[in-house]
């Protein structure tokens, strides 16, 4: 890819603004409490923007358009699930969790279930696991995006993002992160909506140059002009009809040079380093397992009952997984009280709904203008390449740079949120918990995923993010929902339920990963295990709690009262204030809580 100088400028501007905002507001943070909880005085609108900013990761910004390009209408469930997760969070978790005074899940387990240190340690381990599962694809996405726009190897992008995040988290703590995240939400909204409007207008006016054929055609998209595709990672390709192409490299295990004829009966294995050349009008081959022709791409449910199971499983994972994401929960604690937590979530639903209108549109346009991504399998690069393909010249480059800036903001926001929250858990549970420990922990939590991201094979962003959601939905969702609404939950029951649900997801993850390396395929419920693992986790948790009913903590009545009594009655438990705050600060908090009504 040739250098897009505008993209460099865009990254520079985003990086500088992030750094400036982080530095500017970190001057005011000095005690541990300030550092971790932003004095709990973050207004609900800004907090909502910050939550949305943190939530809109590479999977939302690049991944959705990528799966839409590949899978079509069935991929639209991703944005729906990403947004619906906040509704579930609001209905069952937001206000009571805020009033419980816990700001991490291990905290909640200890406070609600009087869990032993060992069980708390297990919860911390799951938090770290989810954090890493979520961080790795972010950093891989960063690598892909940098390699797409700049002449840089894949590890450069991941390292740049990890470094900026580390500096920002280490230097500022939560308050600076709040400002930064809120800023990044608006930046991302701008960076996705401007290209969507411009490219939409270009498309409607018909001045966009040749495209790949009607989206409702009964045939695969065709290359609008002679196209050369370089394969960088080995892929299995399928064609819908017999296809003639030029290949230079290794195809089906044998060296190939010159014209090749592909039949539609079998899949074709293309090794890394191979160059394929297609003449104008050739149907576009696609990665094995994706939707080949446009007509079934356009219509949802075209893959029958198996697809139905997959769709429902995905819905369950995304709907219930959001509440278990560590970086989202910690942010809810910055609301002054339970009522504010609920209001914040309503704002979040609005902001996310606004954002998710745009990636779908860009994904559909990319099926018309960048079909060659179906060949390389790098569909996540679709939004980045679309502007140059539709608008040649400077205009396209500038738009691409705007999108790249948004993508960069997405990596930064999601990664800093995750690193911040996972580091918080590591610092308080595995280290003594001072500001210095927190800094050490954040460096560790950024470096481990970075190493994994460089070493592991990149899979599709949305798929691997889906697994992180499935893990959260099968462990922390039952813990939170039962812990908040059912008196009978015991620590032992919670532990067993999390082991059962989390274990199933991890086994499924291992099988999928192994199948990816050996080239085999796995059933849909292994790819998307939530439909099984979430009910199992709930059931095990309930049955095991019933069996250990004597272990229900004695103070459970007071805890339920604290979580559910309306805020003005003053039963809210702020466990962190006696630990960190000074007397007059406590007074200020309690006063502010009343004034904000």
């Amino acid at each position: 890819m040739e250098l897009n100088a505008w993209a460099l400028v865009a990254v520079g501007v985003v990086g500088a603004a992030t750094f400036y905002l982080g530095q500017h507001s970190s001057r005011m943070a000095n005690s541990t409490h300030d550092f971790l909880l932003a004095r709990r005085a973050v207004r609900s609108q800004r907090n909502a923007a910050a939550i949305s900013g943190e939530y809109l990761s590479a999977a939302s910004f690049l991944g959705i358009a990528g799966v839409v390009l590949k899978d079509g209408a069935d991929a639209l469930w991703y944005p729906i699930g990403f947004a619906a997760g906040f509704l579930a969070l609001m209905l069952f978790v937001a206000a009571p969790l805020r009033r419980s005074g816990a700001y991490t899940l291990p905290d909640f387990m200890e406070g609600r279930l009087a869990a032993s240190r060992r069980i708390r340690g297990f919860a911390s381990f799951v938090v770290v696991l989810i954090g890493v599962l979520y961080l790795v694809p972010q950093l891989q996405g960063a690598g892909l995006a940098f390699a797409t726009v700049l002449p840089a190897p894949v590890w450069v992008g991941a390292t740049v993002v990890a470094l900026v995040v580390m500096v920002n988290v280490v230097a500022g703590g939560m308050r600076s992160i709040t400002v930064v995240q809120a800023f990044q939400y608006w930046l991302k909204l701008f960076a996705i909506s401007l290209p969507a409007f411009v490219l939409g207008a270009v498309f409607v006016s018909g001045s966009a140059g040749p495209h790949s054929g009607g989206l409702d055609a009964q045939a695969p998209p065709v290359f609008p002009e002679r196209t050369t595709v370089e394969i960088e990672t080995p892929v299995m390709l399928q064609v819908d009809e017999a296809t003639l192409l030029h290949a230079d490299g290794t195809v089906n295990g044998a060296p190939a040079e010159g014209e090749v004829f592909w039949s539609s009966e079998v899949s074709h294995e293309v090794d890394a380093g191979t160059t394929l050349r297609f003449d104008a009008g050739t149907p576009v081959p696609s990665v094995e397992g994706s939707v080949p022709d446009n007509a079934s791409w356009l219509v949802p449910g075209s893959d029958g009952a198996g697809g139905l199971v997959g769709t429902y499983s995905l819905m369950i994972a995304l709907f219930l997984g959001t509440m278990g994401l560590p970086h989202i929960l910690v942010r809810f604690y910055t609301n002054p009280d339970g009522k504010a937590a609920r209001r914040t979530t309503v704002h979040v639903l609005l902001l996310l709904g606004l954002f998710y209108l745009f990636p779908t549109m860009l994904g559909a346009l990319s099926r018309l203008y960048v079909p060659e991504l179906l060949v390389t399998g790098e569909t996540d690069a679709a939004v980045l390449l679309l502007p140059s393909a539709m608008l040649p010249g400077v205009a396209g480059q500038v738009l691409a740079a705007v999108i790249f800036a948004g993508a960069f903001a997405a990596f930064l926001a999601a990664c800093s949120g995750l690193v911040f929250s996972v580091a918080g858990v590591v610092a308080t549970d595995l280290l003594p918990g001072s500001v210095r420990d927190f800094r050490v922990a954040s460096v560790i939590t950024a470096v481990i995923p970075l190493v994994l991201a460089v070493v592991l094979r990149p899979t599709d962003l949305s798929l691997s993010i889906g697994l992180a959601f499935a893990l959260a939905a099968s462990t922390f969702c039952p813990l939170l929902v039962l812990g908040i609404w059912w008196r009978g939950l015991t620590a032992r029951g919670a532990l067993l339920g999390m082991l059962a649900g989390g274990g199933l997801v991890l086994i499924a993850f291992g099988l999928t990963l192994a199948a990816g390396y050996t080239g085999g395929s796995v059933p849909v419920l292994v790819q998307r295990p939530a439909l099984v693992s979430v009910p199992v986790a709930f059931l095990v948790m309930i049955i095991a709690s019933k069996a250990t009913q004597r272990a229900v903590p004695p103070g459970v009545g007071a805890l339920m009262l604290g979580m559910h009594a309306p805020d003005p009655l003053g039963f809210v438990q702020d466990r962190e204030i006696p630990r960190f705050g000074r007397a007059e600060e406590r007074l200020r908090f309690s006063k502010r809580r009343h004034e904000e009504r």
Partner: protein, 146 residues
């Protein structure tokens, strides 16, 4: 309890007006503080039911259980409606291919139903839940305070 707090106009209404010129004081002067002996707001809350709640008497227990039940039923009801509305779409698309292929002004209906409609629906559900949940809580507070 001694408690210092900055003067504000709403407080002034209760215990003598403060000179409004105070707002325009020179910045070098420390801001004037008013000292009150007790927080008047605390006393508005009825002592008796609060104690019952805090001490988990059977009556207090019953009150809070009612509130928890009401909030849980509300959450489940709204969650269920949204789930049924969204969850019936995949089945409908598979069961009735003709429905999946409908178009509205050139845009496939399925893309509108999946790409646009869910977001206002989710926001609306959130707004509704927030309103009713806050009403439940206000009613509970009113009951405790009177």
């Amino acid at each position: 309890m001694w408690r210092a707090k900055p003067a504000s106009l709403t407080d002034g209404a209760q215990s003598g007006k403060l000179p409004s010129a105070e707002q325009a004081d020179s910045p070098t002067k420390p801001k004037r503080q008013r000292v009150v002996l007790a927080d008047s707001r605390q006393q508005k809350t009825g002592i008796r039911p609060r104690v019952e709640l805090a001490q988990q008497t059977s009556w207090g227990e019953m009150l809070i259980k009612d509130l928890i039940g009401a909030q849980l039923r509300l959450g489940l009801a709204i969650g269920l409606v949204v789930l049924v509305l969204l969850g019936s779409l995949p089945v409908a698309f598979v069961a009735a291919p003709g429905f999946a292929e409908l178009t509205v002004v050139g845009i496939p209906l399925a893309w509108l139903l999946l790409g646009v409609v869910p977001f206002p629906l989710l926001f609306g559900a959130g707004l509704l839940y927030n309103r009713i949940a806050e009403r439940h809580e206000r009613a509970f507070v009113d009951m405790i305070e009177n």
